[in-house]
């Protein structure tokens, strides 16, 4: 067996330097990452990157910052396994490997003038955070902006500083609910689906963006369809396991399509007949 050294392989990583970290809950940590020379990641909201820690592994992570933020980008990592555990022990100055961005993000170029309805369940706020901040940074380009957030418990809420700001802003309608809470919680208790009927919207000009645990999609989509939002204007980001990001390794395959190439964002009309999708 002969070995050829390569410079331009698809598996080449860029060195991402961690500029800042922030513990946001017991499980989740935010990382601000700078690429060599301060190069922009140049992603679309909803795209993902493959993050490596050499010797531990590589996995896909949604970019949580908006492309309007230049010079660095952010990831939120939930500690659920070997790699995420190792990443969450990193501190400012440490390096991670970055490949990407990959996949199809949210179709920001067609949203001008539309009303935006965000429906986030739990950690689903992370990929949506990118598009929400994109919308806030270009607020004039959009109609009504509504954000619905559902979490397990109040202490599971991510980006709490920003949630307070969203609550105060007049140009954003923000509502949240939790599945369970102690008596100190003054907000809504119940599933995220309970927030949808109360939203006032004009269906034909509304785009809904839904990200959450797989179990959430069927129920949320049903409520959005009751509101008569067209199927092609309901956009969903699907979570799948991915090993390459290049449409080859097969792990992210849903029926005939590769989620890493054709997704992770799909409009509902594209996946409603795809049997393994939601």
């Amino acid at each position: 067996m002969k070995t050829l050294k390569r410079k331009d392989s698809e598996y080449e990583i860029k060195k991402g330097r961690i500029f800042r970290t922030k513990e946001i809950t017991d499980l989740e940590k935010l990382f601000e990452i700078v690429l060599p020379g301060g190069e922009n990641l140049n992603h679309e909201p909803g795209q993902f990157v493959m993050v490596s820690l050499l010797g531990v592994g590589e996995a896909p992570f949604s970019v949580s910052s908006s492309p309007t933020k230049l010079g660095s980008f952010e990831l939120v990592v939930r500690n659920v396994g070997k790699l995420t555990n190792a990443i969450n022990r990193l501190k400012a100055g440490d390096e991670v490997g970055i490949r990407g961005p990959f996949g199809n993000g949210f179709p920001v170029h067609i949203l001008d003038g539309s009303d935006l309805l965000f429906v986030a369940g739990g950690i689903g706020i992370v990929p949506l955070h990118s598009l929400i901040n994109y919308a806030i940074d270009n607020r004039r380009d959009f109609g009504k902006v509504s954000i619905l957030l559902g979490c397990n418990r109040p202490e599971d809420m991510l980006f709490s500083d920003e949630l307070d700001e969203w609550t105060k802003r007049l140009d954003i309608n923000f509502e949240c609910t939790v599945d369970r809470a102690d008596s100190g919680w003054k907000g809504n208790i119940g599933l995220i689906t309970s927030l949808i009927p109360g939203i006032n919207l004009i269906p034909e000009r509304t785009f809904a963006f839904v990200v959450g645990p797989p179990i959430m999609y069927k129920f949320v989509v049903a409520k959005l369809l009751e509101k008569e939002i067209p199927e092609r204007q309901i956009l969903i980001s699907l979570e799948r396991h991915m090993k390459c990001g290049l449409g080859k390794c097969g792990h992210c395959q849903i029926n005939g399509i590769y989620c890493c190439q054709e997704g992770p964002v799909f409009s509902y009309d594209k996946i409603k007949d795809m049997r393994e999708s939601i």
Binding site: T3, E12, I13, L53, G57, G81, R240, H241, K248
Partner: protein, 371 residues
């Protein structure tokens, strides 16, 4: 619109593309090739099992073999392939690598040539897999024709792989008269033939013998092994997603992953880091993976999207007969029969397809060879 692979029609034969090798000169031919290059060929392993291995003489080659345990995929997409080495003593330092071997692969059956073509298609689709594409061009392929069925598991007629459809540099056919006739398909093949001055030019009677042999083959492979027309298979799969046949497979499958390992067109893989003892340096490698393992499609939250074995078997069949048609306009089943031959639970591809056909009542017992 689905475009299907055309059936192999009679081809125009140009005499200068053919040479003849006496069977008694075969060992000298292999010896001459091994002086130029490493040669890999089918070798008998006992119990009617064969494997592609490096050979140093023609005597080692099992010229009449049934499909090898592993297909020649293992040379194009190695079971373990280092894609990078790394050093984290001072940050995330990685160097990508491509592993390859210059080789002559002798004796590849038409089903396995089709399998290599499928892999070529997958890995040349954007974003390309450049390691694969560089490696495949280091391998000179010599095909070898089956003059009749290898065994009852093969279904090469169903997917039109019983006759050669290209994908080789040279192609040997045993004329059964003491000679091989060799089709020269590429310049690389031609150069090898010219270097080894052991061949004679084919004459009219050699070509006639080849034509007669192909005619006999058309009779042997007259009927599809499964009672359905080639063109109707995608339509069948449009109808059977909810078939109870998958539930039957669910009860039998033991999720061992043998079927995907031995499949010449299964290309799914895992990417794994392997540290050295210093825990700072190591390698990142790809390893064959299988959609038949439940872990394969699990996400971080523990959710599994194909938790049932029947759903995973269905996924495998759809990748061979349906998704690949939508994506690449060809079947990803080569008809080699390896999945059925190796299955510990006796899941048989021909039997599964036949049951699906019968269930949908799409039987066409008259389906015969049209060419």
């Amino acid at each position: 619109m689905v475009v299907l692979t055309n059936p192999p029609e009679e081809r125009l034969v140009f005499m200068e593309q053919y040479v003849v090798l006496k069977k008694r000169d075969f060992n000298d031919f292999i010896a001459a090739v091994t002086r130029e290059q490493k040669v890999f060929a089918p070798v008998a392993k006992g119990h009617n099992q064969y494997a592609f291995e490096e050979v140093t003489s023609g005597n080692q080659i099992a010229i009449d073999y049934i499909p090898t345990i592993l297909p020649p995929k293992k040379y194009f997409m190695p079971q373990y392939e280092t894609i990078a080495t790394y050093d984290t003593f001072n940050g995330q330092n990685m160097e990508s690598v491509m592993e390859y071997e210059d080789m002559v692969l002798f004796g590849v059956h038409t089903c396995d040539l089709a399998g290599i073509q499928c892999l070529n298609i997958v890995f040349s689709q954007q974003p390309k897999d450049t390691n694969y594409l560089m490696r495949k061009n280091k391998i000179l392929i010599i095909g070898y024709e089956c003059n009749s069925y290898c065994d009852e598991y093969a279904s090469c007629r169903l997917v039109y792989n019983h006759l050669p459809n290209g994908g080789y540099d040279l192609f040997f056919t045993n004329l059964e008269n003491g000679s091989f006739i060799i089709h020269i398909n590429t310049l690389i093949g031609e150069e090898l033939v010219k270097k080894i001055k052991i061949f004679k030019e084919a004459d009219d009677s050699d070509l006639q013998t080849l034509e007669d042999l192909r005619e006999r083959k058309r009779k042997i492979f007259a009927k599809n092994e499964v009672p359905i027309e080639h063109e109707k298979i995608p339509e069948l799969f449009d109808k059977v997603y909810d078939s109870k046949i998958w539930n039957e497979l669910d009860k039998r499958c033991v999720a061992c992953g043998n079927c995907t390992n031995v499949c010449p067109t299964c290309y799914c893989f895992d990417v794994i880091d392997e540290p050295n003892l210093d825990l700072k340096t190591g390698r990142r490698y790809r390893r064959w993976d299988s959609c038949q393992n439940e872990e394969f499609a699990k996400v971080a939250g523990g959710e599994s999207f194909r938790s049932e074995r029947g759903a995973r078997q269905r996924h495998r069949y759809y990748r061979k007969f349906s998704y690949s048609i939508e994506k690449f306009s060809r079947f990803f089943c080569t008809g080699c029969g390896r999945c059925s031959r190796t299955c510990m639970a006796g899941i048989d591809l021909k039997e599964t397809l036949t049951k699906l056909v019968e269930e949908q009542d799409m039987k066409n017992p008259d389906a015969g060879y049209r060419g």
